[in-house]
């Protein structure tokens, strides 16, 4: 966990003081909404359907118990007792009052948290692998680099008025758990000749024009990261389409210019920026590394875990919610925030405190938030897993469904979001309940269902094995299905199946897809995605719309 130095703390205090004065001037009438809106957005404050919404950054998804308890305190004191974890590793409070926001930001700053650049046409919260620092397949912990990018991009004058928002994701593992190919810049750590560096991917993105990012540099030595990123941003800032909001993201710049031409221009800019940095960034990285506490893992105790597995309920949870740790005596625990019938990604203040306590007692004081809207205890001794499980169960947090059909990603949709065209939360709730009633998700196996309530795709529907997109068709909520999306290193955009389904029809339609998969798969080892890739859309379309002949006649 990165610990703030005096500069960081003073910077945050100053920024919050400024915003407090801006809020006062808005309330007094000295600032119009037109003047105030960009200021509040820079501090993560949106105005949504029913209320303001404060989006707080959880930089690269890392928290400690003090930060998690602070999030709980904010939820209780100024909101309605819960928070919503998002697909960009942020937390959103749905009911703050304008007058309270400066106090909320001051309280967050006490724990080193903030809402800076969680909105606006700036470089947003840098996201990362939620298993960072713990994964068995990791080359190096990506978070010091993520912190370096945060410090460089925060209030960087050149990048405060970009053509559009700009999202960076970074992973230290070859297996991509951070959806790097669907970001404006994705950084995937790779090794070459024993040296660590990054594969740099540009121009990925979801939204109205989904695109898989293209590799612009197959190996960037780690020491050259910031000058290279700055070169990419220079080129984007120069060519990004400010004339059309829908064409302003870098994915369109890359698409229109072509990857070769963009690469040449970036390299030309890089020749300049590399000389300008003069090693400042490398010194900064060393300073940041020194401020990251790494846990001193306690060896031994794995035998107790094997004994605990005799309990079938524990075993079911362990099989779906544990991942391999780099240390054989430890495991990575994913706490599912997807209990069937509950809102994906929501946690009550009480649940946040339980997770903070568990992190403190059993997890070397570390927590992570995943883009899949779950919470991770990255380092748990195998000896403690049974106790952790019991405590999670008591708090309603032991749902054993990670990576399975009811582990659904859903954006807030039209229950909260001003941009949404349909609801997503109740679709996720009803679908998860139906999956629970059918008792088929363990048989169905790995399946990612992702739901967005509008074309902006915060629910990542394009990269869901099954994607659901909620639209307004003639004043009626309508849900389009896409199939075959993939959020990993083999990223793919899902393909639309055909006409959409009504709110009442969408859950039965997804049920038919799962049952069709069980019919057509070769054997249990062939996942939904593999079966789709082998067979194409035909059998799934039949399950959705009936035999082709009938469709033609209709």
């Amino acid at each position: 966990m990165y610990r703030y130095d005096e500069f960081d703390a003073a910077f945050l205090a100053k920024r919050n003081e400024q915003f407090r004065a801006q809020v006062e001037r808005r309330i007094e009438g000295a600032l119009t909404e037109e003047e105030f809106k960009p200021l509040r957005l820079m501090n993560g404050l949106y105005l949504q359907l029913h209320a303001y919404m404060l989006r707080v950054a959880i930089p690269y998804g890392s928290l400690d118990s003090a930060k998690m308890r602070k999030l709980a305190e904010i939820a209780e004191r100024w909101d309605k007792g819960y928070g919503h974890f998002t697909t960009r590793q942020n937390i959103q409070y749905n009911w703050p009052r304008l007058r309270d926001v400066p106090d909320m930001l001051d309280a967050l700053a006490e724990a080193g948290l903030h809402a800076i650049q969680t909105s606006g046409n700036t470089i947003r919260n840098v996201t990362s692998d939620h298993f960072a620092g713990a994964a068995a397949d990791e080359i190096a912990d990506p978070r010091p680099y993520a912190e370096l990018i945060r410090q460089w991009s925060t209030d960087h004058p050149e990048f405060q008025f970009l053509p559009r928002k700009f999202k960076i994701a970074i992973t230290g593992s070859p297996n991509d758990r951070a959806v790097t190919r669907a970001h404006d810049i994705g950084l995937r750590m790779v090794e070459r000749d024993g040296r660590a560096g990054f594969e740099v991917i540009v121009g990925g993105g979801l939204g109205r024009t989904p695109m898989i990012g293209k590799v612009v540099r197959d190996f960037l030595p780690e020491g050259e990261l910031l000058p290279y990123l700055e070169a990419v941003l220079h080129v984007y800032n120069r060519h990004g389409r400010r004339d059309n909001k829908y064409k302003a993201r870098i994915k369109i710049t890359v698409h229109e210019t072509g990857i070769e031409a963009i690469r040449e221009e970036i390299e030309a800019a890089f020749a300049v920026t590399r000389a300008e940095f003069e090693g400042v960034d490398e010194n900064a990285l060393e300073r940041i590394r020194a401020r990251f506490r790494a846990p001193s893992l306690v060896p031994g105790g794995a035998g107790a875990y094997e004994d605990a597995r005799l309990n079938p309920a524990f075993r079911a949870w362990a099989d779906s919610n544990l991942a391999e740790h780099r240390d054989p005596d430890h495991a990575i625990v994913t706490i599912s925030l997807k209990a069937p019938g509950e809102t994906p990604g929501d946690a009550t203040a009480g649940q946040m405190r339980v997770m903070a306590d568990l992190a403190e007692r059993f997890g070397y004081d570390e927590l992570r938030i995943s883009h899949q809207q779950n919470v991770i205890l990255p380092h748990v001794r195998k000896a403690d897993l049974a106790e952790v499980y019991e405590e999670l169960k008591a708090a309603g947090l032991a749902t054993a469904n990670v990576g399975l059909a009811s582990d659904i990603i859903a954006c807030p949709g039209m229950d909260y979001c001003a941009l949404a065209t349909a609801r997503s939360i109740p679709v996720a709730q009803q679908l998860a309940k139906r999956i629970e009633d059918l008792r088929i998700e363990h048989e169905v196996g790995p399946l990612q269902i992702k739901i967005s309530g509008c074309i902006n795709a915060c629910g990542h529907h394009h990269v869901g094995h099954i994607g659901i997109l909620g639209l307004d068709r003639g004043g009626v909520e309508t849900y389009q299905i896409t199939l075959g999306g993939d959020a990993t290193e083999t990223a793919a955009i899902g393909e639309r199946t055909g006409p959409g389904f009504s709110f009442e029809e969408i859950v039965p339609a997804i049920e038919r897809l799962m049952l069709a998969y069980l019919e057509v798969r070769e054997d249990e080892s062939e996942t939904f995605l593999d079966a789709y890739r082998r067979l194409g859309p035909h059998p799934f379309k039949e399950a959705l719309y009936g035999p082709e002949k009938r469709r033609d006649a209709a």
Partner: protein, 105 residues
């Protein structure tokens, strides 16, 4: 030919709470949809929206939304306005939680 004008109401969000509000005939901002002034004349609707927009010290983002005559007063036409008038569907929060919705004045 332009489309015929359909009845509207003026709605916005309150500056301090962010809550959904509706412009009434006697120039108040009510929390209740049925208190809104139903605007059946296009020119009058345009004027009322301009008057609402001048109240930036109390409200944010005023716009005209479709509405129809209902038994208790104007009722929403589009599902988005129905959700705004009620609250989210996953928790009993927002307007549906207020047992006695009062005026915001």
């Amino acid at each position: 030919m332009s489309r015929p004008f359909t009845p509207k109401i003026v709605t916005a969000n309150a500056l301090l709470e962010g809550d959904v509000v509706y412009l009434t005939e006697d120039d108040r901002w009510s929390r209740r949809h049925e208190d809104a002034e139903l605007l059946e004349d296009e020119a009058h609707a345009t004027i009322r929206l301009l008057e609402a927009e001048r109240q930036g010290d109390r409200i944010v983002g005023a716009y005209l939304a479709d509405a129809r005559r209902g038994p208790k007063g104007p009722a929403p036409v589009h599902f988005r306005e129905a959700f705004r008038a009620r609250g989210p569907s996953n928790y009993r929060h927002g307007k549906q939680a207020d047992s006695h919705i009062h005026d915001g004045n």
